[in-house]
């Protein structure tokens, strides 16, 4: 990771203490600190100025930094990204907000055909230090297009860094790193965890490329990211009651993928379960499992399992709890990989 050392951050480090805050507040603090630290940073998106964003992630920032740096954009997602490309040509570091996951598709061309390729296309001459923030995932009882997990489209695209965050500390540090990174970074924020609280130390840095082992265990490796990290940790606690020891990995970076951390864990446990909200077909779980099979086939003691959204469009809110992977479905997959009694055996 190449990041530009920033003197202003050092100043902040000296004065900031660890505080308890929500993920939303942590993201707000990260954006505020980034705007403070670098005059080239600006925010652009729908309703992010006067309203402070539909999730209030940018609350108060327009008042503090002005309408030229916290820009309420017209309702055009392709325009938000494409305009930011032009700003980056002129030396700015735009942080774009796509209001909801399901609204990113109109911007697909600008992201995959422009943002992702300009560095490659120009032989490294043009950098695209855009940060594209997207609240993603379900579980909030929303209407259609507000609960999607489109991360695989972008992880599939060369030239983009795709990261997720799972807790307030991770959200703060990852957002700062994303904005300082000279590559385009898409940050997927788990909207149903926006109000979860945690300790945040603003001096902690993140690297945008490594997974982290959140809990060590010996019987199976459980890989999650974004909103399901909390669910995976809860599943690990529940598994303890059955005497099963789960190692929980938060992938964090979806592209590039930290296959070493996953492989090292699978070599220890011999079993792998991957979970995410997105449909499983051609997904992050497809890639994680393929990587593990390539990297540590000889250490696998059972076929890897996955627990994902079904291969359907996101369903109506009334049945989303059946669609979303929960503790019980995860533990059922753990049982399968351990050869314990499970739902499919019963069927």
């Amino acid at each position: 990771m190449t990041t530009t050392p920033n003197p202003a951050v050092t100043t902040a480090q000296a004065t900031t203490q660890t505080t308890t805050m929500t993920m939303a507040a942590a993201l707000n603090a990260a954006l505020r600190d980034a705007l403070e630290a670098d005059p080239d940073v600006l925010l652009i998106g729908e309703d992010i100025g006067t309203l402070g964003g539909v999730f209030r992630i940018t609350d108060g920032l327009k008042d503090r930094f002005g309408a030229d740096r916290v820009i309420d954009s017209p309702l055009a997602e392709s325009g938000i990204i494409g305009t930011s490309v032009g700003m980056a040509y002129r030396g700015m570091r735009p942080v774009c907000e796509i209001q909801f996951d399901g609204f990113v598709y109109p911007a697909f061309d600008q992201i995959v055909a422009q943002v992702a390729r300009l560095h490659y296309r120009t032989g490294g001459t043009v950098q695209m230090p855009l940060t594209i923030r997207i609240p993603f995932g379900g579980g909030i009882g929303a209407v259609e297009h507000h609960s999607e997990s489109p991360e695989a489209y972008f992880a599939h695209t060369p030239g983009l860094r795709v990261v997720t965050v799972a807790d307030p500390q991770d959200a703060y540090s990852t957002m700062r790193a994303a904005i300082e990174c000279s590559d385009p970074v898409m940050v997927f924020e788990p909207k149903r965890r926006y109000w979860s609280k945690g300790e945040v130390d603003t001096t902690v840095t993140a690297d945008l490329s490594s997974a982290r082992v959140l809990r060590t265990g010996t019987d199976a490796t459980l890989v999650a990211y974004g909103p399901l990290v909390v669910t995976a940790l809860e599943a690990a606690v529940a598994a303890e009651d059955d005497g099963i020891s789960l190692e929980v990995i938060d992938l964090r970076s979806l592209s590039p993928l930290d296959r070493q951390t996953v492989a090292a864990s699978v070599r220890r446990t011999g079993r792998l379960v991957v979970t995410h909200e997105a449909p499983g077909n051609v997904s992050l779980s497809s890639e994680v499992i393929a990587s593990a099979v390539e990297d540590c086939f000889d250490h696998l003691e059972a076929a890897p399992e996955r627990v994902t959204g079904f291969d359907t469009p996101y369903p109506p809110a009334a049945v989303e709890d059946h669609y979303l992977p929960g503790i019980d479905r995860i533990l059922d997959a753990v049982d399968r990989t351990l050869g314990r009694r499970n739902s499919r055996e019963a069927a």
């Binding site: 032009g86 002129r90 600008q110």
Partner: protein
């Protein structure tokens, strides 16, 4: 009702009935109250300069077509017929204004000092970008129709935020009128009063599709719905092109927001060297536009002014030969990229997955029989 006092006739659009022009087809000077004040500096030197630019870019364009026919280029998008539109614009703006163009704007590239090799490498397939955009204040060709309009607006918004008076120019064709990106870009430009010029070369066709399929009203009318003043101009009149470009740049630079120019012109050649235009347009139409050749028109004008046209033609021939010789030489000496270079610059930083794939690729190449690998390894030796 939005109005602007800065556009000609205190209206949002000029040239709707008759595109603005100052040179008639027979080369005679036609007075225009809006454009005349912008042409006071025109003298023989300026006119011959425009003539030579147009003649040389046509020769380069023809040479590139020939190189494609000879198998030296994979593809080439000819600009024949559009010389005045491009040269008139390029010679009106300072070289620090930034162009975001489509792929047919080699006349602009020529005026911005792009070298022949830089102009051709994309079409020979040795690079994805021919030149350093920052060195020439011109982004490299955009293939996705209309996508660059956003980039121009964003660039313009940034120059404004930085308090600089550089402007950006979005160059596109009539086909882009149907793209969401162009329309969105006009919304952003109008709302933020971005210092950007929308420059449409209406060459009548998007490959085979006539302009009527993209716009049932004159293109110049479209931006007025966004509140952007618009000038419709004879794109084959290089003097008028220069004048409207000066007019628009002055308007934009004075902080009045974006402006739109529709240059009404015609693509005399195919869309690209892969196209067969006889399938969609007839000889009669083509001939009518050949008679409106922008270079011949300026030549007639110079003749009327008493310029030694024979001598000027000879000079054009000399310069064209110089340029085309350099082009031909450049294309055959363009460096072939090393195979492993395909892994470079995906990200600005190291990517472990790509490092692994490059190592596997290298091992595979090394595993090839020596007679297979020999040539390839020489090429790839930089890695």
């Amino acid at each position: 009702m939005l109005t602007t006092t800065s556009a000609p006739d205190h209206d949002l659009v000029a040239g709707l009935v008759q595109p603005l022009y100052v040179l008639a087809e027979d080369g005679t000077r036609h007075p225009d109250p809006t454009l005349d004040p912008l042409l006071r500096d025109v003298d023989e030197e300026l006119l011959t300069g425009l003539f030579l630019d147009m003649a040389v870019i046509r020769a380069l364009d023809d040479e590139a077509v020939a190189l494609q026919r000879q198998g030296e280029l994979g593809l080439w998008p000819p600009l024949r017929g559009q010389e005045a539109a491009q040269i008139g614009l390029a010679r009106a703006l300072p070289s620090t204004d930034f162009f975001f163009t489509s792929y047919r704007e080699n006349g602009l590239a020529w005026c911005r000092g792009v070298s022949p090799g830089e102009m051709l490498s994309v079409w020979r397939g040795t690079t994805l970008s021919g030149w350093d955009p920052f060195a020439h204040h011109m982004a490299t060709p955009q293939v996705i129709i209309g996508a660059q309009a956003h980039h121009a607006v964003g660039y313009a918004m940034a120059t404004k935020a930085q308090g600089k008076d550089d402007i950006a120019v979005a160059c596109f064709g009539d086909g882009a009128l149907s793209q969401g990106d162009l329309n969105e870009a006009m919304v952003f430009a109008a709302s933020f009063r971005a210092p950007v010029l929308f420059f449409c070369q209406n060459n009548q066709y998007a490959i085979s599709e006539p302009v009527a399929l993209q716009a049932t009203v004159p293109i110049a009318l479209r931006p007025t719905g966004f509140g952007i003043p618009s000038l419709r101009v004879d794109g084959n009149d290089v003097l008028a092109m220069r004048a409207v470009s000066l007019f628009a740049a002055r308007h934009i630079r004075s902080g009045k927001g974006p402006m739109f120019i529709e240059a009404v012109t015609y693509r005399l050649g195919p869309h690209t060297t892969s196209d067969d235009p006889t399938r969609y347009r007839d000889e009669e139409e083509l001939e009518s536009w050949r008679r409106r050749c922008p270079i011949a028109r300026l030549e007639r004008h110079l003749e009327q002014l008493g310029t030694d046209v024979e001598q000027l033609r000879a000079e054009a021939k000399r310069r064209s030969l110089e340029a085309t010789t350099a082009l031909r030489e450049a294309v055959t000496t363009l460096p072939e990229p090393a195979p492993e270079s395909l892994f470079e610059n995906v990200l600005s930083t190291e990517h472990p997955g790509l490092v692994r794939q490059r190592e596997q690729f290298r091992a595979f190449r090394n595993s090839l029989a020596p007679e297979q690998a020999d040539g390839q390894q020489t090429e790839g030796s930089s890695a």
